[in-house]
């Protein structure tokens, strides 16, 4: 059970692309927080799963006391029930201080940082309430964050507004020592044909940069490339990156209502499909409905040659947000993938032809070990 917890609707930033609805100061109560922890652990226990608590937006650090309370209570309940509890957080990082990092260390809470590249790219979208850029705050904190977790994952949103800075922006992040990047295009914005052409130019540069860094031996993860390769390498039956909405993922709002995923929560006014609440539990009927819709083939992707795991058309809540249906992707997403899949194939093919050790290790870990033995028999490494 991966429970995405929205502890507050409030946020200290006003990013125009934010999909989590209005920002207002409504925080989960202590009672609801405790009940939420118990509900998630109980569910995990019943289904033989791990209880994963992912704190999500509004900005979770604005509800720090509540977050702390949930972690401590969830740990205690999980210990009693014999369930493994894991903690995650998506954060803009602005409010994280040393004391928080200590807590994360102690409780193994991993956070994923939202930072949109370099200053030009980041400040094009990620503004404070007063309309000022926020990059300089993060630039100062970044080295400490990476010291805290060298494998820190970063989330970047690409929009028509910041796309022209994308290649430089992502290179900046790699240069800072970030190795794991999740790039999400905002497919709910009005991309023009020119924007898509610019996207392609930028992605070609990103891909070339990634290629060069990989040739130098850097072990990077860029979802735009790696996910497509891994899904292809694993084959259709083994695709690991799927949407788990309605199956093992839920979103819990400050009121304790349960929604299928993060984009459904919005202002939490029960105007969107609800799957239950933490007091009564999950309602079987809407759960079954959303599960069936999520598992249904995407329309009209059936005949598309990229619909073999390489196209990132799996995100139900993204589709819902753009088209109102979870089985119908947004035009902007399709355009994005038609740009990205050939680029990913080009880079993957190049690395394969070169038998690049990093690439081989990622895609074929056990075979890779054997190749190294063959090539360098005197290193003594037998499998």
């Amino acid at each position: 059970m991966n429970a995405l917890l929205h502890l507050t609707h409030d946020c200290n930033l006003r990013c125009p692309y934010c999909f989590t609805g209005k920002k207002f100061d409504r925080e989960m109560t202590s009672d609801t927080a405790k009940r939420t922890a118990e509900f998630v652990v109980d569910y995990a226990k019943q289904h033989g799963q791990r209880a994963v608590f992912s704190f999500f937006g509004g900005e979770p650090m604005m509800a720090w006391d509540r977050l702390r309370e949930v972690v401590l209570h969830a740990e205690a309940v999980a210990r009693e029930q014999g369930v493994v509890a894991l903690f995650r957080m998506n954060t803009n990082g602005m409010l994280i201080k040393e004391e928080h990092l200590r807590f994360f260390e102690e409780h193994d809470l991993i956070f994923i940082l939202s930072i949109d590249g370099n200053e030009a790219m980041h400040d094009a979208e990620r503004l404070t309430e007063g309309g000022k850029g926020s990059h300089h705050v993060l630039a100062e904190k970044l080295p400490r964050f990476l010291e805290h977790n060298p494998g820190m994952m970063v989330s970047v949103v690409i929009t028509p507004t910041n796309v022209r800075h994308a290649a430089d922006g992502l290179a900046y992040l790699f240069d800072q020592g970030i190795r794991y990047l999740i790039i999400k295009p905002d497919v709910t914005q009005a991309w023009s044909r020119d924007d898509v052409a610019e996207l392609e130019r930028q992605y070609e540069r990103v891909a070339d940069d990634y290629l060069e860094r990989t040739r130098k031996g850097d072990e990077l993860y860029l979802n735009l490339l790696d996910d497509k390769w891994i899904n292809h390498a694993k084959g259709a039956e083994g695709i690991s990156i799927r949407c788990d909405v309605g199956s093992s993922q839920i979103s819990i709002s400050p009121s304790g209502n349960i929604y299928p995923c993060v984009r459904w929560v919005k202002e939490d006014e029960a105007t969107v499909p609800k799957l239950g609440d933490v007091w009564q539990g999950l309602l079987p009927e809407p759960m079954a409905k959303i599960r069936a819709e999520s598992a249904a083939p995407k329309q009209p992707c059936g005949d598309c040659s990229y619909n073999d795991g390489r196209c990132a058309n799996e995100c139900a809540c993204e589709h819902y947000s753009a088209t109102g249906r979870i089985d119908t992707p947004a035009p902007a997403l399709c355009e994005h993938e038609r740009v990205m899949v050939p680029i990913a194939d080009r880079v993957g093919n190049t690395l394969w032809r070169e038998r690049n050790p990093v690439f081989m290790q990622k895609l074929y870990p056990h075979v890779s070990k054997l190749i190294q033995i063959r090539v360098n028999p005197d290193d003594g490494a037998t499998p």
Binding site: A233, G235, S240, T323
Partner: protein, 270 residues
């Protein structure tokens, strides 16, 4: 729940119907990866070029579809290595062994990698067996131990299956992976106390390894060396313990078997 203030809406999505310049257009014949799926590679090792030279499961792979490229020249010029020592060489075994076989020259590696993504961070993954292989090697090499894996220890009315144990020297270890709940139960606090007492009483010395974060080779090696230094100062005096019955099937010779596609790995947080 309290509502103190209401701030403006941050963003407004553009519905797909308003994305006039764009379209969902299935691609009839787009680009294709040249690199194989894992299944294809395992089934047809010739895809690697010359990989059919390898022993183990790849040795049974299909014949190459086309001539394989020659190995790089500098590798051809390399002097031949002396044949590997046989497991019966007592000198070699004295330097440490695992299940009666001498140690490889270098420690086996385990890899922590990431999979997944989307809303949450991708998961750190590793293979617990690979971690145990590393500990077996490190214990055997650093302590000159004859490690027997999956050793059933019966002592003072307690029955335990240890990941590795040398019944001649009464030294071994148990690794409990963070998410291995069964092992956590089997080696709970009471059992851990028992292990400590046995060591204090110089009966057996068993290193209990449980790492809160991702396993890493340096940390594990440090723990092993520290433990073995302690054992050297106060070695167990119990005498030889009875050997467990031999396993039903002899362990396969080199190399390690190729795992099935998508062999289960442990997703663990950092």
């Amino acid at each position: 729940m309290t509502t103190k203030k209401k701030l403006p809406l941050a963003g407004t999505p553009t519905p797909a119907s308003a994305q006039k310049e764009l379209a969902v257009t299935p691609v009839a014949a787009g680009s294709r990866p040249e690199f194989p799926t894992r299944g294809e590679l395992y089934r047809k090792a010739s895809l690697l070029g010359g990989a059919t030279l390898l022993a183990g499961s790849l040795a049974h792979a299909d014949a190459p579809a086309k001539p394989v490229p020659p190995p790089p020249p500098q590798k051809q010029a390399m002097p031949k290595q002396p044949p590997a020592e046989t497991p019966t060489n007592p000198e070699l075994l004295a330097a440490g062994s695992i299940d009666g076989k001498p140690l490889d020259k270098v420690a086996p590696k385990f890899k922590v990698y990431r999979e997944g993504g989307g809303i949450g961070p991708a998961e750190d993954m590793w293979n617990e067996e690979e971690v145990e292989a590393f500990i077996n090697w490190t214990m055997a090499r650093e302590g000159k131990l004859a490690i027997q894996t999956k050793y059933k220890l019966e002592l003072d009315g307690t029955s335990l299956e240890l990941d590795g144990f040398d019944p001649d020297k009464n030294v071994g270890y148990q690794y409990v992976d963070k998410l291995d709940y069964e092992a956590k139960q089997a080696f709970d606090k009471a059992v851990q106390k028992k292990l400590e007492k046995w060591q204090k009483d110089k009966k057996v010395a068993i290193l209990f390894i449980s790492i809160a974060r991702n396993p890493d080779a340096a940390t594990i090696k440090g723990k092993v060396i520290k433990f073995l230094n302690g054992v050297k100062k106060a070695p167990p005096q119990l005498g030889k313990l009875p050997s467990p019955p031999p396993p039903a099937t002899a362990p396969a010779p080199t190399p390690a078997p190729m795992p099935a596609q998508n062999a289960p790995a442990k997703p663990v947080k950092k």
